[in-house]
Symmetry: C2
Subunit: 230 residues, 2 copies
């Protein structure tokens, strides 16, 4: 991604020659956001192929949580920083207008969209008045240009069920994105953790939360087949 | 808070003379975290009074979301940055061992604990192995010193229902903190927003999500009476 032209060529090779069904991007490129003009051709290309982009968070302890500190303590950068990074990237892509520009753009967000589903109220009523909290910025033109209400764009993303076995994240992610926009994911391989030991655990959790065979088969198979044109 | 001794005196006056039933702190003090030794007497004092500390997020657009940028765009600092700040402060207080030190410490987190409830899996299985992602830090002693599993401390916090009318955030929060640790909050006064116009809207939302009169009366009244020793 530090060489977007080369990335575009490699995407072409991966998809055309090697039959890849999508690409993964990290939420930032050496600290730069994904909505910069130089990365636009990547999104354009994937929309052209009608294949998804996966977004994975990237942040390390050098991203401090307090202005007076140099490092993030207690792995906060990972624990809540990764879901935050995912959310920030999603917001940037929405306001860059990419979903209006390429209505078939498919983006899968790891960890069930990170902080997005739990912030429905802030993304909804909060973003309807984008600009009231930053008088030094003029966002009125932006809001008018967008074809939909800001909140509605966030439901166009896909989320996966890799949430370290979190019942709440899977449940409410499913409610936020809806049964057609959730995909099975586990984040394995990883060392076994207390209360979260295997792919089978996630499978059982998803089955339980989905509640019926129709929803769970969407999450396990149907949505992926559709998304990946299989 | 830039003068903790004066803060401590003012807390004393507010509680003893003016009958205040708690104090509010912001999530950072001029960019500094709340777990620094100079702020410890504030926590100690409030535990001594058996009265709560409210925590409110504080961050502005000067807190950038990307290392290569100077400012936070699209009010990301507010939309997801505030819930993040709340979460970071909560994590710092947990690992500072304050809930072991003062078992009756009462902390009310605004906006239903921000990003905490949706990150149950990362705070749970993820923090059980705190340190594996930061080989340059040694957290083994810390984990041993804590009397409980990290995740369990987060359920000792209280959350309020001020979430800009978010059905999901109230649901997540109520399930995470439990019916005894949720308080009614609305974030009013504010200009009316689409789909979220009045204190009454939040009241109806909470009643609906609570599901029965026992739970809703806890949220509306009983929990507050208990917390504030009324």
């Amino acid at each position: 991604m530090n060489n977007p032209d080369a990335s575009a060529k490699e995407i072409e090779r991966a998809i055309k020659d090697l039959k890849a069904v999508g690409v993964q991007l990290f939420t930032n490129v050496n600290g730069r956001p994904l909505d910069l003009p130089e990365f636009l051709p990547i999104f354009e290309k994937m929309a052209g192929y009608d294949l998804p982009i996966w977004i994975h968070p990237a942040r390390n302890s050098s991203f401090s949580d307090y202005k007076t500190e140099e490092k993030s303590k207690y792995e906060i950068f990972w624990c809540i920083g990764w879901p935050y990074e995912t959310g920030a990237a999603m917001i940037r892509i929405v306001f860059a207008g990419y979903f209006d520009r390429w209505p078939n753009l498919k983006i899968v967000t790891h960890h069930m969209g990170g902080v997005i589903p739990s912030n429905e109220g802030r993304l909804g009523p909060g973003y309807d008045v984008l600009g009231v909290r930053t008088p030094d910025e003029d966002y009125t033109g932006l809001l008018k240009r967008l074809k939909r209400r800001p909140l509605d764009y966030f439901r166009l993303y896909y989320g996966d069920t890799a949430t370290f076995g979190s019942r709440l994240a899977v449940k409410y992610g499913l409610e936020f994105f809806g049964p057609d926009n959730v995909l099975f994911g586990t984040d394995f391989p990883f060392p076994p953790m207390k209360g979260y030991g295997s792919v089978g655990d996630v499978l059982l959790l998803v089955e339980e939360i989905a509640g019926d065979a129709e929803v769970s088969s969407k999450i396990f198979e149907i949505n992926a087949r559709k998304l990946l044109n299989l």
